[in-house]
Every structure is written in C-alpha cells, then in structure tokens.
C-alpha cells in the first residue's frame, strides 16, 4: 500500500507531479520501462536513442584513454620527469577527470532543468556531447571557463531550439567555439596544450607549440626540425587538445561507430577527399605541407569521425552527405592554409556546414523531385 502511494506522488495528479520528467529520466536510466505501446505500426529494433548514444561513447573511449595517457606523457616530456606508464596515465586521468565532471554536472543540470520547464522527458542527447567536450579542449582550460561555455552551448545551441534533435549546431563544437572566441589566450598559442605543474619548470627544449602550428609557420620542414615525423603524428604522442591527437585511437573509434551503423561512412570518406584535394592544391601553391599531413594533424580526423557525422546536425540525404562531408574537409584545410588568424579550421568548417546542411538537403530533395517530374513527363 505504502509503495503504491509513493509512486503516485509523481504521477499525474500526484503532489510532486511537476518533478515527473526528472523521475522518469532516472527511472528509465536504471530500469527497463514496463509499458509498451499497444497500437500502431512500429519498427522493432534493438537500437534506440540510448543504444546509439552508448555506441558513440564506447567509440570515444580509446581516444579518451589515450588522451589521458598523452596528457601525462606531455607533462613528463616537457619537465624532463622520468615517469612510468601508469604514473603518466593516472596523472592525465586526474587532469582530465575534472573536465568531465564539470562538463556533465553543468550540461546535465541544464538539460534536466529545461526538460522540467518544458514538461518533457529528459533524453540522452547530452551523454555524447558531455563526453566529447573534454576531448576537444586544451587540458589547461580553466574549469570556470569550461562551465560557462557548456552552459552557453547547451542553452543557446540546443535548448532554445527545442532540445535534443532540434539543434542546428553540434553543441560540443559550440562549446569549443564559445571558448575559442571568448578567451582566445586560453585556447590558442603555445602555452595551453601541455600542463606544467606549478612546482616544475619546463626544460629548455620545450616550446609547447602544436605540430599544426609549427607546420602552419614553416611547413613540413619545420615539423621535421621540431622532431615530429609522420608516424609521431599518427600515433599521437604530441601536444594538442585532449582527445584529438592519436590517429590510431580515433580509427578504432571510427571502426566501432561505422560497424554499428551510427555514423555515415559517406561523410567521413568525402571529408577526407575534400581535405586531400584542397591540401594538394595548397601544396601546388607552395604551402610546404603534403596533403596527407592534414589528415593526421590537429583536430581534423577527430572532427571528421565524431563531429561531422553527428546525425542531428549533418545532412540527411544520401547525396547531401557526400556534398556536406566534402565541403567540411575542404573548408577546414582552406582555413588552415589561407587564414593567417586561425591555425585550425576544423571547428569553423563543421559549424559552417552544420548551418548549411538543411540547405544542402533542400537542394538535393528539390533536384530529385524535378528529375522525377521530368521522367514522368517523358514517360
């Protein structure tokens, strides 16, 4: 009897009904709901929003783990400390964990509050976003800035448009864009990518510049001079945002989300093609960077695999995906090579193409409609 009454509190008419979306959220997080729809046609599939999101998070784990190790590795390298593998890993873990805590606390807090206000169910959209955010910022970003940026991105990038699935831009990238434009000195330059503890001094050889910045200044020759070979960039023990450095870890993630069918291989492939083509033009024009280097430097691959393929903000039509992906890759390299102000162009390229994705879809759809109309006429 008592049990029933308790449940009734949050049901329609119950005293605490206004809290029902929060309660429902925790309820479905923890338990499989017993209710089923009785009427109508349904596709029966093991995949629902929650499973999709979990797949992406699983795919991100290699990059995250590698990122934590790399944070410790870079600190050890910069200060000349001789740390073992586990010490580096746990050092990085302790540096990255606060970023995760802030990202989830702030993001989920706002998500829950706004679902509450709208009277809708909380859904799982923020799980992936919250996991992505710490991976695309420098490890040294102050936590209060991160909290502010997450709040901005979730409120103005997502909630005002109506929540998960309604947003125009990728919320994780919007967080990064907010940080990048608000506090440029904490997001770019050569002082932010490697954490130097207060009680340790960097060695003389330490510069802190990312390979992308080095290559942007002096081409591949400068990269060689700084001691970064192509394979170094491929393995990823280099300064950069937490999760973006290792090509191999990202490729493992790519296999997982492609195998589970969450992300579109068309977008990934065409983005790489776009980057290679523009990179090749750039090389002809004397950029001094071979085209394939663009694939392993900076956030290109991470953006291509995990951000550009976001099913909500990318193009929906199959032809549209080719166009969208190609332009993402091409624009990113255009910014890298021809904009003296920004070293990295991936964030701006994806956000810009997010904006244009609906237009691309519209054009693709109306083109195919008119093609069919013509066929009808001739037939």
């Amino acid at each position: 009897m008592a049990e029933e009454k308790k449940a009734g509190l949050f049901e329609k008419g119950g005293k605490l009904y206004w809290l029902h979306s929060t309660i429902d959220a925790f309820d479905t997080f923890l338990r499989v709901p017993g209710t089923v729809t009785a009427k109508g046609a349904h596709v029966r599939d093991a995949i629902d929003l929650k499973r999709v999101m979990i797949m992406v998070v699983v795919a991100l784990v290699p990059a995250a783990l590698f990122g934590m190790y790399n944070v410790g590795y870079q600190t050890a390298l910069a200060t000349g400390a001789s740390w073992g593998f586990w010490k580096m890993f746990f050092y990085g873990l302790l540096k990255v964990l606060p970023l995760y805590i802030v990202s989830y606390l702030v993001g989920l807090g706002i998500e829950f509050a706004s679902s509450q206000i709208r009277g809708e169910e909380v859904n799982e959209g923020y799980l992936v976003t919250g996991f992505l955010i710490p991976l695309i910022v420098p490890v040294d970003v102050p936590l209060w800035m991160l909290a502010l940026a997450v709040a901005f991105a979730v409120i103005f990038g997502k909630e005002v448009f109506g929540g998960t699935g309604m947003n125009i831009w990728n919320p994780a990238l919007l967080t990064r864009a907010f940080l990048f434009f608000s506090y440029p000195s904490s997001m770019s330059g050569s002082d932010v990518w490697v954490h130097i503890p207060k009680d340790m001094a960097p060695t003389d050889a330490f510069t802190g510049a990312t390979p992308l910045a080095i290559a942007g200044d002096g081409g591949v020759g400068a990269l060689d001079a700084a001691g970064y070979s192509f394979m170094d960039l491929f393995w990823g023990l280099i300064p950069g945002s937490v999760g973006e450095t290792s090509v191999i870890a990202i490729l493992i993630g790519a296999v997982i989300i492609l195998w589970s069918g969450v992300a579109s291989w068309k977008i990934m492939l065409s983005s790489i093609a776009g980057a290679l083509l523009v990179g090749w033009f750039g090389q002809l024009a004397g950029s001094g960077i071979p085209a394939y280097y663009h694939l392993v430097m900076g956030g290109f691959l991470f953006g291509t695999v995990f951000m550009a393929t976001d099913p909500v903000t990318s193009a929906q039509t199959e032809t549209g995906k080719w166009i969208y992906g190609f332009l993402v890759g091409a624009l990113a390299v255009v910014v890298r090579l021809w904009n003296p102000g920004y070293a990295e162009g991936m964030m701006l390229a994806i956000l810009l193409m997010n904006t244009f994705a609906p237009l691309i879809d519209h054009c693709v759809v109306s083109a195919s409609i008119s093609r069919r109309a013509k066929k009808m006429k001739t037939a």
């Binding site: 434009f181 440029p184 000195s185 330059g189 003296p340 102000g341």
Partner: protein, 277 residues
C-alpha cells in the same frame, strides 16, 4: 491646389533641395573652423602622446588650447623629407599632417596609379631631440595610422596609433590599450632592411633574466591578427621610406654596448647623450 501636377512636383522638389542645400552649406561653413581645430588638436595630442609628453587621456582633458600651447612649447623643427633622405621642404610650426594628407603620401610611397607625385614625408623634431614620424596603412575594416617617436639613436621612444573602424575591444586596442603602445618603447627597428619591424605572436624572445631582448619585434594583439598584420605592414612601408633619413640623421653610435643600450632605451634621452659623449 493640385499637389500632383508635374509643374508643382518639379518646383516643390527644387525648392526643398535648395533649402536643404543652403542649410547644410551654412552649417558646414560656420562649424568648419571648430572642426578643423578639433582635428588638429587631436593630431597634435597624438604626436605628443607618441613622444611621451603625457597620455592621450591627459591631453583630452586639457582641451584644445592647452594642447596647442604645449605643442608650441615643445616643437623645434618640422620639415618633409624624401625617401632618399634629403630634405624637401619645411612645415610651418603650427601646421600638422592630417590623416587625409597621410593617406595621399601613403599612395605616393607605394607608387602606382593613385600616386600624385614624389613622397614628401613629414618629420617633427622636438626640443628634447625626439623625432616623430607618422605611419599609415590599412587595418581590417579601414585605415590605421599613428605616430612613432624616435630617440636620437633610432630606438623607439614611444608610439601612438589610431584607427577609423577596427573592432572595438580587439583591433581597437592599437588605440585604446596603452600596454600595447608601451611595448614599442625601447625596441630597435632594423632600418634599411627589408623587414623593418615585426608584430608577431609572442613578441621578442626573453633573455636569461627573463627580460625582453631589444629587437624589432613586439607581441601581436590576441584575437586581432588582421589589424596587427595591417599595422605591421603600415609600419614597414613608412619606416622603410624613412630609413635613409633616419640613418643619415643619426650621429654614429656604436651598437655593441648592449648593457648601456638597454638602459638608455628605457630611460630615454638623458642617458642617450652620455652614450654619445
């Protein structure tokens, strides 16, 4: 009356336009004196600020008259030079070079179809020996210009920059941020070389005591790359044109006295004199 007839329409528009034109012409004429006085005082206070006689805010508070009086007190000589270093003409001591005149000379330095003749570059010499020269060029949204003051050994004594429409809070810092202008003090442009001055991320390297090395580099403004680049180009173009004059006007000072050069650059002209002796 039929206000839609052709004749009425024509007469009406004519009368309105004539009245408006007359009002504007009258107002423009009667305010012209004030406006020019304002512009001149503004230019002069920029030069005085560059030569470190005070801050721009001080001069703004002083009012036009006091600024002009101060200028008359400090100025020793003003003349124009050509890019080969020879003197081409005099500038009256109560005359200044407005930004529009600078724009014309900027075309002349660069040559091409907008040039109106050989460049005549103004130099203003103050009684304490500081030389003030202008620079002018294109920023991100519009022109940027300013004044750079030189000590007698051609190290920079100070600088002031202005702009028409750079982004407030970013590019506008060339004007609004005294810290940016202070960075110029003590630097030594490589006069006569192809790259006279550089505004780059990071600025000068630091020496072992964590002091900035005296060279021709200062730190760019974070978030305002295009304005920084534009200003750098303006400085290079103009100081390039002034190189011959500045080098020839300098009494030969041996550069290989790093410690003293360091001090003199910071302390200004008094120590400069001792180095010369």
């Amino acid at each position: 009356m039929n206000t839609n007839s052709n004749i009425y329409t024509v007469i009406y528009t004519t009368v309105i336009v004539v009245i408006v034109a007359a009002v504007l012409a009258f107002v423009s004429q009667s305010l012209k004196g004030n406006q020019q006085a304002n512009e001149k005082a503004d230019t002069i206070s920029q030069m005085l600020t560059a030569a470190q006689f005070g801050t721009k805010a001080d001069f703004q508070k002083m009012g036009n008259k006091a600024v002009l009086a101060r200028y008359a007190e400090e100025i020793a000589e003003a003349f124009t030079v050509s890019p080969d270093g020879s003197r081409t003409g005099d500038i009256a001591l109560d005359e200044v070079f407005s930004p529009s005149l600078l724009k014309r000379q900027n075309y002349n330095i660069k040559g091409g179809q907008n040039a109106t003749g050989a460049p005549e570059l103004p130099v203003f010499i103050f009684k304490n020996g500081k030389k003030v020269v202008p620079v002018y060029g294109a920023g991100l949204w519009g022109p940027v210009w300013g004044y750079i003051a030189f000590n007698e050994d051609n190290s920079i004594a100070g600088a002031y920059f202005d702009h028409e429409s750079e982004t407030a809070g970013l590019g506008a810092k060339i004007k609004d941020d005294p810290a940016f202008q202070a960075e110029f003090i003590g630097e030594k442009p490589s006069l006569g070389e192809s790259k006279v001055f550089e505004i780059v991320k990071g600025g000068s390297p630091k020496d072992t005591e964590n002091k900035e090395v005296i060279d021709n580099k200062i730190d760019a403004i974070t978030g305002a790359t295009m304005t920084s680049k534009g200003l750098e180009a303006a400085i290079n173009t103009w100081l390039g044109a002034y190189s011959a004059y500045l080098l020839s006007a300098t009494p030969k000072v041996e550069e290989e006295v790093p410690a003293e050069v360091n001090e003199e650059a910071v302390e200004g002209e008094e120590t400069t004199k001792t180095v010369e002796e």
